[in-house]
């Protein structure tokens, strides 16, 4: 992009901010965003869908009193941007019919800067035929395993450019690159389906280029995954009872997402998401006092982790990416916040506010909320377990609106008896209550098995927004968990 085009794009954001201020906003910011994405889906060696999308426009926030006004237009001209700014202020003013306390904003450094996701191999420059060949080949391998009915494989890439301007003087551009994908095998029985996925359910997404795809070695894992799916049809049902539960890393990543990540969102704690996503069992005056889990539990929200999906340079309020302690030695010490929520709660702003494209109001979003590794290994954990199961790869997930009562299903499990991995088990489920479950964490694998798992499909907000979040985790054990809930 030429410097002239760059100046124009900053100019549209600037015009939007000026329009909002002229219409009465006390603060305004705007983002021109251009997002390209490419998605390829293959089912049983046939390319089922191949699509590319480009969304571009400017979204502007205007603060008046107790309400944010937001308006977005896809028309990238100075006039349209200015009008969008005015419209944002107009809708903010309308909120005065049902007013609340004025929204304060925490101070953040006012910077001019540029950030780029480091990557080796531009995923959009990799030949489309190579990508298709990779997916077709994987599904061919899966289909070669007897008993497999469906073999699907997906790749998806995002290239996002943003030009952010605030009425306080921020001027920040970013270029973010994300790559993801995976595959799954489905075996279908008389009255059941069994599925295995790799690297995890819905694929593994990371920041970076096509090198992020290559390192997972799809072809080398396709046969094993297919065989496991086929074997599940004749595997024993996961028995009911209270037993030790060893979670594989990606399943633990989703467990962190649902029962820690959402619970610590300050907008939920403050009640801003009460009607839809829900609230939180956490109360802000308990921060620094409440025991969230066992002393082994250390959680950070770290937007600076190289390669993790929730990594960026600045959030969509212009706050620098940072690492924030969330749980330290089991004690709850931090939240996910933005400039408004942090100011209301009397906490430092965490730089965790992002919007889904140019046409959504930025909101509190997980960055990379991860469980720091321990000093063991999966092999050692299994060897140290007398009676339990080792459960891998998410199949279902459900949690209440306060983020306390959860039930997860995984694709597969293995019985663990007297320190040995035994028979395969199908339809494993487990259920629990957040702090009790986290309080039972007693073994964790070390840094060698620690992975920055990525969740590309986190829904929140009205209108709904899809967020991309990261969750670092390795295999870990929880004691005496209720397993094998039946329908």
């Amino acid at each position: 992009m030429s410097s002239r085009q760059e100046a124009n794009l900053f100019g549209y954001s600037q015009a939007a901010v000026e329009g909002a201020l002229a219409a009465g906003a006390t603060y305004a910011d705007a983002r021109v965003v251009i997002v390209k994405d490419e998605r390829i889906e293959v089912l049983n060696q046939n390319v089922e869908s191949l699509g590319q999308t480009e969304a571009a426009g400017v979204g502007v926030r205007a603060l008046i009193g107790s309400s944010w006004g937001f308006f977005a237009t896809a028309e990238l001209t100075e006039t349209a941007a200015r009008q969008a700014g005015e419209a944002a202020a107009v809708v903010a003013k309308a909120a005065a019919t049902v007013p609340g306390p004025d929204v304060p904003l925490s101070d953040v450094p006012v910077v001019t800067d540029h950030y780029e996701t480091p990557f080796d191999e531009d995923p959009f420059a990799v030949a489309l035929s190579d990508k298709v060949d990779l997916l077709v080949g994987v599904t061919e391998t899966i289909q070669s395993v007897p008993g497999i009915a469906l073999a699907s494989a997906t790749l998806q890439f995002f290239d996002t450019e943003k030009w952010f301007v605030s009425s306080q003087g921020h001027r920040i551009s970013q270029h973010l690159v994300e790559s993801g994908g995976g595959f799954d095998a489905t075996a279908i029985g008389e009255s059941e389906t069994q599925r295995r996925s790799f690297p995890q359910s819905f694929g593994q997404y990371e920041t970076g280029g096509f090198e992020r795809i290559r390192r997972w070695d799809y072809p080398g894992n396709a046969g094993r995954i297919a065989e496991e799916a086929a074997a599940l049809l004749t595997a024993d049902e996961c028995p009911e009872g209270e037993r030790d539960l060893i979670l594989e890393g990606s399943q633990l990543g989703l467990q962190i997402h649902e029962s820690v990540g959402h619970a610590i969102e300050l907008d939920r704690i403050l009640g801003w998401e009460a009607a839809f996503a829900g609230t939180s069992w956490l109360e802000i005056d308990k921060i620094g006092q409440l025991q969230y889990g066992s002393e082994l539990m250390n959680v950070t929200a770290d937007a600076t982790l190289p390669g993790a999906l929730g990594t960026f340079g600045y959030d969509d309020e212009g706050t620098p990416a940072q690492s924030v302690d969330i749980v330290k030695d089991g004690l709850w010490v931090g939240v996910l916040s933005g400039r408004d929520s942090a100011a209301l709660a009397g906490l430092p702003p965490g730089g965790m506010v992002r919007g889904d494209g140019f046409n959504r109001l930025p909101m509190v979003r997980m960055t990379n909320v991860g469980l720091l590794p321990g000093d063991s290994s999966l092999e050692e954990i299994i060897a140290d377990t007398k009676d339990g199961i080792y459960a891998s790869t998410n199949r279902s997930w459900s949690i209440d609106d306060k983020r306390l009562n959860f039930q997860f299903g995984t694709e597969i499990a293995w019985e663990v008896k007297d320190g040995k991995r035994g028979r395969m088990l199908k339809n494993p489920t487990y259920t629990g209550i957040g702090p009790q479950f986290w309080g039972s964490l007693d073994r964790m694998a070390g840094p060698e098995e620690w992975v920055h798992w990525g969740t590309p499909n986190c829904g929140k907000g009205q209108p709904i927004q899809v967020g991309h979040t990261g969750h670092s985790a390795g295999p870990s054990r929880f004691s005496n968990v209720r397993i094998g809930v039946r329908g």
């Binding site: 046939n46 191949l50 969304a55 896809a74 309308a94 077709v136 009640g271 279902s396």
Partner: protein
């Protein structure tokens, strides 16, 4: 606003004779006023068109989309789609473009809603909040006015417009919440005070809730719960792609449900929302999904119809080549009992006002886990005797509606929000013999 039909035609002309092509344009405005802690905290709007293009070069299919209407962006979209199509293998399942056909003459449109301003939405919110003095209100009021236009190189051209108006919210005490929901074509139909009054009453009534032991309980389910069930039946069962892949529970012609259960999809119903054609450019047809408890037919897009040797029912949605057709105008047939009559007939059971965070464990068995939310009540000797803390259930939805298990169907059908979005499931309350609750407040 750019004329969507002219824009769709222009995109097809840009492709010219280089490929078969179809284009869909959706344009208009979406505005939403959100409130929490009894005040408006977010007020948003957008005027963003969506232009989607599919091209087919010698059986090789590719799609592209943009939010930009300028010639540069449209040409880029066309070139991207053509270039990608040439590089991919032939799509063995491509069913061809939709032929010319007229759509039903329906227009679920209200001019006042399309033009609604933020003050009108705020006024409904004010009424909702005022109906719950001393409580904390949260929710949203939304107005949408959209025009959709389709064109393809086989000469099919269709256009339609739609409006939607929604108010959805909760009131909260320190320990409980109650909800209410209204969806319709026109903002004039929204009664913020009535919605707020219902939510406030349920919130107050569900305070001081107590735990009960999980297990099988007779239940009266609100329209919201019925809508959730209908979504799972539709997405994982009556979706023809699930049937093609043998992942569906549906056995056409089989008595899979109680005879009291009827379910169909019909955009021509005066109560329906949306436009009369799908994203393939096929006119929507009425589809009988369940009649007298018998599974009757599936919802198709052109791909599944071609595979099964039938005709599309007009239920393609963007992305349905991957996840299948989806009915967007579902009606669950009403019965003749009021909610009070259903509750009065229960000796010991539960009244559930909403399900939450429901996820499927296996599409073929339709076992779903989820929780209750915003008011769960104990019924004893025909009357509500107290409020319960939320419960988790793990239940096959097909078995839950099975023969002999539907004791009554309500006469209170309305658009209900299933947690998966408003405006596409019109459902009544249900009285069911048994529901499998597998966990309580403490796990």
């Amino acid at each position: 606003m750019t004329d969507p039909q002219a824009l769709a035609d222009k995109v097809i002309a840009m492709v010219g004779d280089r490929a078969e092509a179809e284009a869909m344009v959706v344009a208009g405005n979406r505005s939403l006023t959100r409130f929490a802690n009894s005040y408006i905290h977010q007020n948003v709007g957008e005027d963003v068109p969506q232009i989607e293009l599919k091209v087919v070069v010698d059986g090789r299919v590719s799609s592209a989309a943009t939010s930009q209407v300028g010639d540069d962006a449209l040409n880029r979209m066309v070139d991207t789609a053509l270039e990608s199509a040439r590089l991919r293998p032939v799509d063995a399942d491509w069913p061809g473009l939709a032929p010319q056909a007229e759509a039903a003459d329906v227009e679920h449109w209200d001019a006042a809603t399309a033009a609604a301003d933020p003050a009108e939405r705020a006024s409904r919110v004010a009424d909702f909040v005022a109906a719950g003095p001393g409580l904390r209100g949260a929710g949203y009021c939304e107005t949408i006015g959209l025009t959709s236009a389709f064109a393809n190189s086989a000469g099919q051209r269709l256009t339609g417009r739609e409006t939607r108006a929604i108010i959805d919210g909760i009131h909260q005490t320190e320990t409980s919440a109650g909800s209410a929901h209204q969806t319709g074509v026109g903002i004039g139909d929204l009664d913020g005070a009535a919605a707020g009054t219902q939510a406030a009453a349920r919130a107050r009534d569900s305070a001081d809730a107590y735990d009960i032991k999980p297990g099988e309980y007779e239940v009266v389910l609100s329209p919201e719960c019925t809508a959730t069930i209908a979504v799972f039946l539709s997405a994982y069962g009556f979706n023809a792609k699930a049937a093609v892949e043998e992942q569906s529970f549906v056995e056409i012609g089989g008595q899979q449900f109680d005879p009291a259960i009827n379910m169909w999809d019909d955009v021509t119903d005066p109560r329906a929302l949306g436009v009369a054609f799908d994203s393939d450019g096929v006119p929507k047809r009425r589809v009988e999904l369940i009649t007298g408890g018998v599974s009757k037919s599936l919802a198709h897009d052109r791909r599944t119809a071609a595979k099964l040797g039938t005709e599309s029912t007009g239920h393609a949605v963007p992305g349905s080549e991957s996840f299948g057709a989806f009915p967007l105008n579902v009606f669950v047939g009403e019965g003749d009992q009021s909610i009070d009559e259903m509750i009065a007939s229960v000796d010991r059971g539960l009244f559930v006002t909403a399900f939450n965070y429901c996820r499927i464990l296996d599409p073929k068995s339709q076992v779903v886990t989820g929780l209750t939310r915003n008011g769960t009540f104990m019924i004893e000797n025909g009357a509500i005797t107290g409020a319960l803390t939320n419960l988790r259930f793990t239940q096959s939805f097909v078995e839950g509606l099975g023969g002999g298990r539907v004791l009554a169907v309500g006469n209170d059908g309305r658009f209900a929000d299933s947690e998966f979005g408003p405006g596409f499931i019109h459902a009544p309350s249900l009285h069911l013999a048994s529901w499998n609750f597998t966990g309580g407040n403490d796990g």
